[in-house]
């Protein structure tokens, strides 16, 4: 077996660990906590199905691989909940170290390629990154909405906090942001989000 293929398969095996990184979001039907691999799969299918709502035309293959790998660093750094102010402070340093370790398993050219895609997502300047972020926000929202806002209730999240995060959805898709707003308003009315 070539050294190149060996490195690629080693990376493929390494990222299997994402299936053990659990998020705060719960599966629909009041299920268990979701893991990073499932979240990335779901985002990627949604990106494909909802691409007509992107504000700008996107390269859908790039959006899909961006969605699929955007949480790889959490293998080392763990999941940081979107509304965990303390965790968010150290998140960047933890994730930078993880990025270097994990992508270095790949051959040099693919290491550079995947880091570029990962960084493009983080920098959030391109049409693809903005639409991928819209998916990163919308996917847990539809699960949480289906569960009567249970994740928000558990963490006593406020509407203001959710809006703060969903502002990125608007940059990716005005239309999906409109939907998001309605969901937030409904949950404020119901009391599952603090007004």
């Amino acid at each position: 077996m070539s050294n190149r293929l060996q490195q690629q398969l080693e990376f493929a095996l390494e990222i299997d660990k994402e299936k053990n990184i659990f998020r705060q979001t719960h599966l629909s039907q009041h299920g268990r906590n979701e893991n990073d691999a499932e979240h990335a799969w779901h985002m990627s299918v949604m990106a494909y199905l909802l691409k007509e709502y992107s504000n700008e035309k996107v390269d859908i293959a790039k959006v899909m691989i961006m969605c699929l790998i955007h949480d790889v660093v959490e293998i080392d750094a763990g999941d940081t909940y979107a509304y965990d102010a303390e965790g968010l402070k150290s998140q960047k340093a933890r994730e930078d170290a993880a990025k270097e370790r994990i992508f270095s398993i790949l051959p040099e050219d693919q290491k550079a390629e995947l880091i570029a895609i990962f960084d493009e997502f983080e920098d959030n300047q391109t049409a693809e990154a903005k639409f991928a972020h819209a998916m990163d926000n919308l996917q847990p929202l539809i699960l949480n909405n289906s569960n009567d806002g249970g994740d928000w209730i558990e963490h006593q999240v406020s509407a203001e906090q959710v809006y703060g995060r969903q502002i990125k959805t608007k940059e990716g898709s005005e239309k999906l942001y409109d939907y998001t707003k309605k969901i937030i308003e409904t949950h404020v009315e119901k009391g599952s989000l603090k007004g």
Copy 2:
């Protein structure tokens, strides 16, 4: 909200159930059973990383969405283990009914589009379908190899059975089939596959 978006989001919520469909394959590090959403995520990342080994040039966006949705029917039909002769007999009828029900949640154009992609995978005639099948076979193989062939031992699988399945890998990628053969030979030597 438009009726179209409502249908698309309803489908997005429906497929969440794939995270509860468990396979015979175990995660690396002797982990728990893997579910369909995780398997599809893993296959899709591997397709992107290993596309240089496809026998024919592929449209990678199509391969990725094919990998991501190829098991959606198992929400209703359940997972049929590759070496379960009885289950395999009724698999087609169970999966056809599921295909109709689940994809019908989508708007007509997307129902037709996703069924076409799903059927293309099943028919296994195009370069994209053949490479996606190579991933469908390679992904559990690398997990099982990392676990000392535990899944094969548990089900008393023979090398002949594995070769029978991996023949599809060869149609998608000669190079990855060569790797597969070496793994099978190693496990026959070790006794984790019956010779």
